[in-house]
Amino acid sequence: MKTKHKLAGISRREAMRRGLLGAAGLWLARGLDFPAFAAAGPPPARAKAVIQIWLWGGACHLDTFDPKPEAGNDYCGPFKTPIETNVPGIKICELLPLLAKQADKYSLIRSMTHGNNAHETASYMVQTGRPAGGRDVFPCIGAVVSLFKGYDAGYRGLIPPYIVLTEPQGRFSEAGFLGSRYKPFATGGDPAKTPFAVEGVVAPGISEQRQKDRRDLLQKLNTLEHALPGNAQLAASDQAEQQAYDLILGDAGKVFDLSQEKDELRTQYGKNTFGQSCLAARRLVEKGVPYVTINYNGWDTHKQHFQEMRRKLPELDKGLATLLQDLSDRKLLDSTIIWCCGEFGRTPKVQWEEPWNGGRGHWGKVFSALVAGGGFKGGHVVGASDAKGEEVKERPVYPVDLIGSMYELLGIDGDAKLPNPGGLDLRVLPTVADGVKSGGLLKEIM
């Protein structure tokens, strides 16, 4: 336990202050709470898949899962009447009535924190559990799951193991030093349109016959390949091509054909890009895809914040609530983690002045996350923010705590090595020596 040794010079009180100790006692960001790993290998997996709902831009905690009506108009704006959920004592924003009926299925973390207010560095921190600015660019959780649950781990699906609906986040290297092989497959297209033109899989305007004719033509005209039988590079490329054609011409690609679902259900999800992305995510998880990110943008509301929330929150409400219910109905919720948050929260005190006219800025000091399924208990609230939603009041949850908890539920060993070009000893989870702050795994809801 080298990490324990590093902590030896610090008093317990000091360690507590620095956020190094968690509720369960001494928690080394890596190793702590994973004491069995060293001897017994990875923990048993409870979750098979993850659906990440990424609120790109940073959703306001006060206007979603951590309402503060007592803080007054300058903080809560027009949203003054949070609603009761089906779990006594838990209230959420009034614009989320459907999610209010599903609160027994999810838990809310109201004390997420990292203190960073820049999109790209905060995105990195929340999705890797690492501090930004280190020497190495670590992969995000999706790429790590792709590494440990994807093709290298016996995944045989034709659908790539790590999918993003529909566009990548941009200014964010999902795979980090793992490289392009672990990048997500971005579907492109729009699931709310028919057909959902998944980039590379569904090409509107090219008939199946023409696809087959073209493939024949390519094989006949591939002269260099014929001149180089047994070339290892070309063999790898051929295998990739075979896989691609199985998707283009075979049945596997039908997973993206949302018209196979009942119209009633499609309507429940919401006939918009986010709602239908939730439906597509369920279908993908059903087919065994281990990691799906719904990159849901439009949350960076510096101006016109409340108008924008009135448009977006009902969309989020429908899509996410239906997803929870649908997964639960299909007995998939127990094996599927859902996590929903953005890179940070938003400035609790409304910026009424020009040029914002009722906007909210970036706020990394405290924000909220929703987690459900895959071994996370429903119906709980973890941690709390202060009366105005400006600071963590109790039980700070740092990104590494959330990421580490998901790894544990997925049976991914936090101490496992990550391959990297420099051949350095880099592990799935950071240690205290990496300068990471931790409040402990989310044991209270696992």
Partner: protein, 521 residues
């Protein structure tokens, strides 16, 4: 437009069948006998003989013209340039082409791109140069390459740079690293200019070298994101002595920047590290594999596959006063470089001893440019910091993008390096299923083919399917089709001439998806 048009001479030749290549060997291999004359060839072929490895034949002119363009200027030859080279009867045409290519503007673009990978020219996380600094840094690198600045001076300028990141481009060398403490700087310097992974060195060796960088200061100014690199003898890190990687210890004085002392040692012609690193990299860049492999992992227990060859190249570089173009010219003119990619030996040691030219998937940027050039389309790039967004002119080539943060999902899918570490292996040219899916069937590629003005023009001006096919072959594969290929491709056209367009686009699609287009060969 004019680039796609086939010259009258070529067209006549195609029509009369004199140019359509008949035998496959003639397609990729030259009938000329191997006659090793240059020193490089003697060293390589002697080694192959010792190992009883049969080298490949020389490559054909059609292969050479495409290869030379792609390797030297990261650009595929226009149809017209390929055909006139192939039909040129001048026995010295290969040497002449090499000289022409080394003088082209795209040479500076392409090699500035490669150096920007190694020197990590990137505005955003984790390198965080900021756009105007990335531009200044790239501009300095490109200018040095364009002017063929001697390599020792290029390195000296980078190592001893001081000043504002916005004004003194090369000063960004010290900012373009994630770890800016003296050890981190020493590791980066060792990697970049010695091809060595200093994290594997004994700790005192690294600490000794780090001391040379213990007085590098960086201070901010009133200008947003401006930083000044300066010699700071008052640094809290400052050390009194420093030790070169060869074990020699020197005293540091407060009136001389220790970086200058280090640079003086590094670029000394007697320093074995310095020339070795760069000649080995140059060989790796042109031949796909280092004489020491990996090219940036030079250490005593990773010996060169051909020590005499390496020593010869080092000697040549030093004697030419570190003229990198001289080095490229030597390598490009060798028969070793001009071997075919069709191997004649399956011995495991063949690849490490350069018995044939290895297949390599095109660099992401080169592929993007080639697709644009063939179809006459463009790509959109923009920088999202600082707001408002900066849009790159659509005519600008992908190889000329200055900043690693200006990118696209296409470039990343095809293995463009993130410019985080400066390791050569960051560039990943291995094929993946996602890449195949994209090229075979994405709307991006379909659109380029469907909307291609160049293909439209070709169809409008050549009503005979044979001419259309020949035009497509020259534009996409830089060569004439064989008679067999012509028959297959023309056979894909409807007999009643009803929809030549769909058939022609299918042929274009097939050639774009063929190994011959996607790989340097």
């Amino acid at each position: 437009m004019k680039k796609t048009a086939i010259s009258a001479l070529v067209l006549t030749a195609v029509l009369t069948g004199t140019v359509a290549v008949r035998a496959q060997t003639g397609l990729y291999e030259s009938p000329a006998k191997l006659a090793p004359e240059s020193e490089i060839d003697q060293l390589v072929f002697n080694r192959l003989k010792q190992l009883d490895i049969q080298p490949a034949n020389l490559c054909s002119d059609a292969v050479f013209v495409r290869r030379a363009y792609l390797d030297v200027i990261g650009t595929q030859p226009a149809a017209r340039d390929a055909s006139s080279f192939i039909l040129d009867r001048d026995p010295n045409k290969r040497a002449k082409l090499i000289d022409q290519l080394l003088a082209r503007d795209e040479f500076a673009d392409y090699w500035a791109m490669k150096w920007s990978d190694l020197l990590r020219v990137k505005a955003e996380f984790p390198i965080d140069l900021w756009p105007n600094a990335a531009q200044a840094y790239h501009h300095w690198i490109r200018t040095a390459i364009e002017e063929n600045q001697p390599y020792d001076q290029f390195v000296r300028d980078l190592l001893t740079a001081s000043g504002s990141n916005f004004e003194v481009g090369q000063a960004n060398f010290y900012r373009a690293m994630q770890n800016r403490d003296p050890k981190g700087i020493a590791q980066t310097v060792a990697l970049t200019f010695m091809g060595a992974r200093a994290d594997k060195w004994p700790t005192n060796q690294l600490a000794g070298m780090a001391a040379f960088f213990s007085q590098v200061g960086i201070k901010t100014t009133a200008e947003w994101k401006e930083e000044i690199v300066f010699f700071n003898p008052a640094s809290t890190n400052a050390q009194a002595t420093a030790t070169f990687p060869d074990g020699t210890t020197v005293k540091l004085s407060t009136d001389r920047d220790p970086r200058e002392v280090f640079a003086g040692w590094l670029i000394d012609p007697k320093n074995p590290w310095f020339a070795r690193n760069i000649v080995n990299r140059a060989w790796f860049w042109l031949l796909g594999r280092g004489i020491i492999q990996e090219p940036d992992d030079i250490r005593p227990d990773n010996p060169p596959s051909n020590p005499e060859l390496l020593a010869y190249l080092e000697k040549e570089l030093v004697a030419s006063h570190y003229d990198l173009k001289h080095l490229y010219r030597l390598i490009l003119n060798s028969q070793t470089y001009q071997l075919s990619s069709v191997p004649r030996s399956n011995q495991p040691a063949a690849a490490a001893n350069f018995a044939s030219y290895p297949l390599r998937q095109l660099d992401a940027e080169v592929l993007a440019d080639a697709l644009c050039e063939i179809t006459g389309t463009t790509e959109k790039y923009s920088s999202s910091i600082p707001e408002p967004f900066t849009f790159i002119p659509e005519k600008e080539r992908s190889i000329a993008l200055p900043d690693g943060s200006i990118t696209s999902s296409f470039l990343e899918m095809f293995g463009r390096p993130p410019r985080d570490t400066g390791l050569e292996s960051e560039r990943n040219n291995r094929p993946t299923a996602n890449q195949r899916l994209h090229l075979l069937n994405s709307s991006h590629i379909q659109r380029k083919i469907e909307q291609s003005e160049k293909f439209k023009y070709l169809l409008k001006t050549r009503d005979n399917p044979r001419d259309v096919v020949a035009g497509l072959y020259l534009a996409i594969l830089s060569r004439f089709p064989t008679e067999n290929e012509l028959q297959i491709a023309v056979g894909h056209f409807p007999t009643d001439g009803a929809d030549n367009r769909a058939a022609a686009l299918d042929v274009a699609w097939a050639l774009i998806n063929s190994a011959e287009f996607l790989y340097r060969h």
